[in-house]
Subunit: 129 residues, 2 copies
DNA sequence: CGCGTATATTCCGTTGACGGTATACATAAC
DNA sequence: GTTATGTATACCGTCAACGGAATATACGCG
């Protein structure tokens, strides 16, 4: 389990990371928010810490965990080549819908085989799915 | 295996996707480029197709696979909250180093070019387990 | 038709991640 | 000291992903 991709493949670990975006948290706080047993939380935190995605400090009996998200950049970097690609896809879909525009009964339309490149932009990121 | 995160956790599948960024490819081409047995390639392509990340069309005996990368946006969306975080981390590190001693490195005091980072990692496409 | 190429699927064994439970360890409070 | 709280680890069972090998299916050609 060295790969960041494998580490974030686990839903509970993604949930932990999302919770830690707001602020650092103790194991008990994460346990309550996640609703999973404490040993599970500790085990997932161990994986995250070994992967270098979180770090912990001691606060009395508590351990406070916080993000060290540099390694997540690997995911971001890997994703980079695909970004332009799906923007082009969205544009193609938009043109398609524009052409079909106003049709209440959708006919069976095949996809074109070749994709037209040249993404028009002006559509900021942050679009929801 | 529904989650996109689980699908891209597998190095060979990430390699396939990276190869398909350039252009659509047949199974045999992928097999040669990846150096893994053909049944493995087909199985990974099956997973990718079921996840909606690639699609295939028939070309004689060949099957041509290409990207349909919309679902990868889920990864991008999940990553969004962390981006600001790691940028802040890098800035904080820079300020810290500047304060420690701005002597060792010919660093400029100005934090001007905060956009020109991110190419630090050599990560890319290669995939090993 | 049989034959060759290209790809998909099935069967099978291994291995390791995940979850559960109990227990060990650490620090604080008394 | 003992007890209480907070966290980590050990042990264990299950289950599914992965890889290998053999086989099945699809298609083209002579």
């Amino acid at each position: 389990m060295q790969s960041v991709f494998e580490v974030i493949a686990e839903p509970n670990r993604r949930a932990i990371l999302s919770l830690l975006v707001a602020s650092e948290q103790s194991v008990g706080e994460l346990e309550r928010e996640l609703g999973i047993p404490q040993p599970m939380v500790s085990k997932h935190l161990r994986v995250l810490r070994d992967a270098g995605i979180v770090e912990s400090t001691v606060d009395a009996q508590r351990r406070m965990y916080r993000l060290t998200p540099e390694r997540l950049q690997e995911v971001d970097d890997w994703l980079a080549p695909f970004r332009a690609f799906w923007l082009a896809h969205v544009d193609a879909l938009e043109r398609h819908l524009d052409r079909m525009h106003g049709t209440a009964a959708p006919a069976k339309k095949k996809k074109s085989t070749n994709k037209a490149r040249g993404a028009k932009r002006g559509r900021g990121k942050g679009a929801k799915k």
